[in-house]
């Protein structure tokens, strides 16, 4: 019974959202406000029960681990700019956040992203099949020409300008592929909702 009610509510809200395609109307506005309200409420609960309580307040309150007062104090320092006399205190949590981010992201992104991607660009052109040769050449040229487009220290004229134009073409192909995938994603979402309406609600399929 509860499931049926849930399906009906979801179906009616889905139709209310899609009614915007005809024109803006009260049904759409009601569904939109419900969505925003439910999302805000949901995230408030998630932030408390999944972040704050188990990681901070539970060890402090239940286990009596007083060290956890320090992150609470540091967290409150984020609000220091609201009080001009002590606004310098915000530097402490910001410095800590920046330090952790630098340590974590810089090293790992160099090791995990930049270096392997560079390595993947140095592809062999000799001793490979004709198809592989063309494929590897396209990747190498694509990277070089695209990088040339983003070289702004010299005016894009002559050879540099020609190479930059080829770089634009490579980027256009890339944007085209992304656009195609974007359309596919949007249609997939439509199909997902239609499947829900036809299968779970109307039971036609």
């Amino acid at each position: 019974m509860l499931e049926t009610i849930g399906v009906w509510i979801a179906a009616l809200l889905t139709l209310a959202i899609y009614s915007f395609l005809y024109k803006d109307n009260p049904f759409y506005k009601v569904a939109e406000h419900i969505f925003v309200g439910v999302s805000a409420g949901y995230w408030a609960v998630v932030l408390w029960s999944n972040f704050a309580w188990p990681n901070l307040f539970e060890p402090l309150v239940r286990q009596g681990n007083l060290w956890y007062i320090i992150p609470i104090i540091v967290g409150f320092m984020m609000f220091a700019p609201l009080f001009p006399k002590i606004n310098w205190l915000v530097r402490i949590p910001l410095t800590f956040t920046m330090g952790v981010s630098m340590a974590l992201f810089v090293l790992q992104i160099v090791q995990g992203d930049i270096l392997p991607q560079l390595q993947a660009t140095f592809l062999p052109l000799a001793g490979v099949s004709p198809f592989q040769f063309i494929s590897n050449l396209l990747i190498i040229l694509g990277v070089i020409f695209t990088l040339i487009y983003f070289y702004f220290s010299k005016e894009h004229k002559g050879v540099l300008g020609g190479a930059a134009k080829i770089g634009i073409w490579f980027m256009m192909v890339s944007f085209g592929a992304s656009f195609g995938y974007t359309i596919m994603a949007r249609i997939s979402l439509l199909i997902g909702r239609l499947y829900f309406l036809l299968h779970n609600w109307l039971r036609l399929i």
Partner: protein, 273 residues
């Protein structure tokens, strides 16, 4: 006013209606268009096929209901494949709303294959912290996972005890709709611990992942509903994704026709000026 001028002024709601009909009709009356298998999807399938029985596969449910249409059918087909191969599934999530969706998959498939919770599969729930959490998880799982999603101590389950660090994990399969997700698993977990990473992602995010396929950091990829349909075809489990591919194809044809007509009108209007 000739026909091109009339089409140029057509009400956009008629276009919406045509797209809607192109999506609904094939769902009601399936055509059964063939689904070609692409190499990234085949790689995921082959990776799972190559694992010996009892291997541990981490399934990270990194999406929420907003991407459920694309990623839920992929999750269903993938876990079906794991259970069929007698692999052990260790589910977790970098997105909080993914965990209930993962449980729905277990509820549907576990009875079918007589799988026991805590022995053959487990759900350790939502794990916040993104990159920091993944690095801790790879070093020492106990730093991150104390209980399962229902709050039961993880050491009370045989599968919970079996996963101590990244070395115990054969493959990570992330069903990712964004941040944190597939990129975090590649950049932090694969780079640091060398674990094989496969992924399923929304169609919008798929092009971004191809560079990682090329570099070998990502072993296989299911891109959008099409990727899910391909996986359903490989595991011989016709589901929602395969059903949706007829609609997907018809709507794409319709959109291509719209684009061609739009361009013809544009050229016509330019010449007229």
């Amino acid at each position: 006013m000739n026909i091109l001028e009339r089409i140029a002024k057509v009400d956009r709601r008629i276009i919406f209606l045509l797209v809607g009909l192109a999506a609904i009709i094939p769902l009601l009356f399936p055509i059964g268009l063939p689904v070609d298998i692409t190499q990234p999807v085949k790689s995921v399938y082959d990776t799972i096929e190559a694992l010996p029985e009892g291997s541990i596969v981490v399934v990270s449910v990194d999406y929420d209901p907003g991407s459920e249409a694309e990623l839920f059918p992929a999750t269903l087909a993938f876990i079906d494949h794991c259970f069929r191969k007698n692999l052990r599934v260790y589910m977790m999530g970098l997105w909080p709303a993914g965990i209930p969706l993962g449980n729905i998959v277990f509820e549907e498939l576990a009875p079918k294959y007589n799988k026991v919770y805590g022995v053959d599969y487990i759900n350790v729930g939502y794990k916040p912290g993104g990159a920091v959490m993944l690095l801790s998880l790879g070093r020492n799982v106990a730093d991150v996972v104390a209980t399962d999603y229902a709050g039961v101590p993880i050491d009370s389950f045989p599968l919970g005890k079996a996963v101590k660090s990244a070395g115990d994990i054969s493959v990570v399969m992330t069903f990712s709709a964004g941040d944190p997700g597939i990129l975090h698993w590649i950049i932090y977990f694969n780079a640091r611990f060398g674990t094989t990473i496969c992924g399923a992602t929304t169609a919008i995010s798929a092009p971004r992942q191809y560079q990682y396929l090329a570099s070998g950091q990502l072993t296989g990829l299911l891109g959008g509903l099409k990727g899910a349909a391909e996986y359903e075809t490989l595991v011989k489990r016709k589901g929602r994704a395969t059903a949706g591919m007829d609609s997907q194809s018809i709507v794409h044809v319709l959109i291509v026709i719209f684009i061609i007509i739009g361009n013809i009108i544009l050229i016509y209007e330019r010449r007229k000026k």
